[in-house]
Amino acid sequence: MNIIRGNLRQFGMMIALVFIAVLFQFLTDGILFRPANIANLVTQNGYILILAVGMMLVILTGRIDLSVGGLLAFSSALSGIFIISWGWPTWLAIPAVLAVGALSGAWNGFWIAYKNVPFFVVTLAGMLAFRGLTMYVLGGTTITPFPPHFHNLSAGFIPDFFGGAGVNITALVLAVIVSLVLVFLELRGRRVSRQFGAAILPLPFMIAKLAVLVGAVMLFGYWFSASRGVPNVLVLLAALTVIYSYIANNTVAGRHIYATGGNVKAAELNGIKTKRVIFWVYVNMGMLAALAGMVFAARLNAATPRAEAGFELQAIAAAFIGGASPNGGVGKVTGAITGAMVMGLLNNGLSHLGIGSDVQLAITGLVLLAAVTFDVYTKTKVAKSAK
């Protein structure tokens, strides 16, 4: 009973994700998991997922960043100006935009970490300023189109190196590799836990968990192989997820982020330079927002002053749906990814059912509330039973 309860918390949102996926697959008569729609899902939500990863780290320190939506729009505008208006080569424009993003993050971080200005105010100011700057630099016009290789950042697919006729073999090979890595990591983690006598997932649970994960990966591999292959954005996202999970879970820097969010005073008395941690978390957020901005521009194939607003709130919602604590110190990068996917899948599924974006938004709100309520509820349960 306890095992189920403990693991419910860990996997609650993943189970919800699978449930939502199956539900919509059924309701939409199978449109949801058509290969073309899968690719669509990934490109539609890619930039939110990127923002959510950075936002998770910010939230881990017990803060939020409201300026990322504005920064995303500003970055997409800059990429348009650099590449289309000024004719810069892509290899120069991409690092330049990333640098601008990092500098903008540093600007936020400087006031928040070193000048003790409340993060809400600093990033709210950033949100307004970046929106204004976006319109200013574009002069109210939309710049289009990007050269094809930049457009492919969002819209392209990994080419098939094996030249399978009608079937993309690269996609299948990738899926097999990812599956093997997943199994390897799970077994390794299990060995570590066993070695230290820690509670481990019972064998049937582990097999079920791996079966679901591997099954999902292989299914995606099959779908992609049957269509145009693996979307470039997916590879980018996978790389970000792996890198940032690793940073959060396995590095000294990650530990310092968790400690700063969990108890800033204690962290300081352990020799952790909490101001520096907060500063760099914002720098990183700025850089990821710039990356998201370019992915966004590439998808639209245009830099537009009317870039949608509210992305920052979606990223924040994704992190909370994915199990982050608003007080800081609790949350996982994979949680933010799961949260963003839940939101993306909901929106996509509802669209296919012909439900408008107005209702979609309302439902997203309810899901956010339900997810966090569930978390609060299970946490008090666990806390009570542990006393």
Binding site: F196, A253, R255, L269, N270, G271, G329, S385
Partner: protein, 504 residues
């Protein structure tokens, strides 16, 4: 005097853990009943049941008050009957005034409009009764913990209290404040108010209580009147065996001076011209345990934290010498790198990341030792944590358990493990046994002795004079930011220490 309150055969489970096992307790009208027991024995749980925090139905057993069975569903129910509990962690709102706090939830209002004149008038009366000379308008954040405790009692009195339950009321108070509080309890007793006192400090239990009930491992062990009883008698009941010596013997002789502080002056971080530490000198030899005694507010914690890489204070001047070489510590991380460790007096707020595991807390101050090129080696980290779990006997299921679920004593052992793992030469331990039961205290004293045996410098700050005297080779006495005396172990008595403080 007849029985006023009786708890009969109370059993309470948290899931499968049996917290209370048919505990019974009886308080007679107008007496002070002391409930003693080790941490985790179930005292606080029992009081939460009495006050309705755990509602009727959440436990088995019955509560009788004035011969009538009570089924409290919430704190409001028990307060309506005149049973008021004052928790260990004070429940005051810092940015409200004393009178606003006293009448919080019980506002003197008509139709939702507060009558401030009546509020202040009543507050003044209550403050006089508890002997607190403060303006009712003063913000609670501007008065000390001792006075806040009095505000809590005034608040209880405002509710026409008949039974006052105090959970560790003197844990954060100095000797004089504790004395005042205990005298107040005796005063209230004269007025017919019954008190239930939960305390670790056996001296005060012996001083004020009429009846002593001992709880061990969720069971009532015994209950006896406070006549011809001494501390050893109570301890025997609490731990189920005799503790012959409360301080384990140490047979090491200190070596040469390793750590020295000269002319150390620290200013208040916000009020720039206020000296908090004024020209302090001290030295510690290898393998020596040095105590710093003093009243609350004497500046002991401030001294320790300012030495710890300037974690407290501004405009710090003076010299720190280690092995004869001056250290220039600009940050906590530099202090740790130079072999200095500081164990905070408030482990929950400043010592631990409560939401993290034992393992991650232990490695926190010395992550580099379990890391290879910025990556934490989790194998090694867990091995280290397991090692310390065995060495200092942290009672936990495994090192992946979250520290918030541990008892106070075990939490403190986690903090100690962390600093042991950082392998410092100088350890400053600030109230290392605060809120910890007798058994765990003994274990921590043993760890301190072991550190001395390894030739480390140990500085112990404690508000409990018997502890300072029992542990230290030498004792510094601090008052108002200055060193006002130094006593060797054989000269130190509680009286001689207090004399130094009073004469300064």
């Amino acid at each position: 005097m007849g029985t006023l309150l009786e708890m009969r055969q109370i059993t309470k489970r948290f899931d499968r853990v049996l917290a209370l096992d048919e505990v019974s307790l009886e308080a007679r009208e107008g007496e002070i009943l002391a409930v003693v027991g080790e941490n985790g024995a179930g005292k606080s749980t029992l009081m939460k049941i009495l006050s309705g925090v755990y509602a009727h139905g959440d436990y088995q057993g019955q509560i009788f008050y004035k011969d009538e069975e009570c089924r409290f569903k919430s704190i409001k129910d028990s307060e309506k009957r005149g049973i008021v509990i004052i928790h260990q962690e004070l429940a005051l709102i810092p940015y409200l005034s004393i009178s606003e706090n006293i009448f919080l939830g019980n506002e003197q209002a008509k139709g939702g409009v507060i009558n401030w004149h009546l509020t202040y008038q009543k507050t003044a009366g209550l403050l006089e009764k508890v002997g607190l000379r403060e303006n009712p308008h003063t913000l609670v954040s501007n008065i000390g913990v001792g006075k806040q405790q009095l505000v809590e009692i005034a608040k209880a009195l405002s509710k026409r209290v008949e039974v006052l339950v105090l959970d560790e009321p003197t844990a954060a108070l100095n000797d004089i404040e504790s004395e005042n509080l205990l005298n107040l309890l005796l005063e209230l007793k004269k007025e017919g108010i019954t008190s239930i006192l939960i305390s670790h400090k056996l001296g005060e239990v012996l001083k004020v209580s009429d009846q002593i009930t001992v709880i061990r491992d969720g069971k009532t062990v015994e209950s006896f009147p406070n006549v011809d009883v001494d501390e050893n008698r109570i301890i025997r009941g609490m731990v189920g065996r005799d503790i012959l010596d409360r301080f384990p013997p140490r047979d090491t002789t200190p070596g040469d001076i390793l750590f020295e502080v000269r002319d150390w002056t620290v200013h208040h971080p916000e009020i720039a011209d206020k000296k908090v530490i004024d020209g302090v000198n001290l030295s510690v030899k290898r393998g020596e345990v040095v105590g710093i005694a003093g009243l609350m507010g004497a500046g002991r914690t401030e001294l320790a934290m300012s030495l710890f890489g300037g974690a407290y204070g501004s405009k710090i001047t003076g010299t720190i010498l280690k092995g004869g070489k001056p250290l220039h510590l600009k940050s906590v991380s530099q202090a740790i790198e130079n072999g200095i460790a500081y164990l905070t007096e408030d482990r929950k707020q400043y010592g631990l990341i409560l939401d993290e595991t034992i393992c991650r807390n232990i490695s926190l101050a010395n992550l580099n030792a379990v890391s290879v090129r910025l990556t934490v080696d989790e194998f090694k980290e867990k091995r280290v944590a397991e090692d310390y779990r065995g060495r200092v006997d942290i009672r936990a299921r495994d090192v992946l358990q979250h520290v918030k679920n541990l008892s106070g004593g075990n939490q403190q052992k986690v903090v100690l493990s962390k600093w042991l793992f950082a392998d410092p030469d100088v350890l400053i331990l600030d109230e290392p046994t605060r809120g910890i039961d007798v058994g765990a205290k003994y274990e921590i004293y043993q760890i301190i002795n072991e550190l001395a045996r390894q030739g480390k410098c140990v500085i112990v700050i404690s508000s409990e004079l018997p502890e300072v005297i029992g542990l230290s080779d030498r004792i510094y006495i601090m008052n108002e930011g200055r060193m006002v005396g130094e006593l060797a172990r054989d000269q130190a008595t509680q009286e001689s220490i207090m004399e130094h403080i009073m004469e300064s």
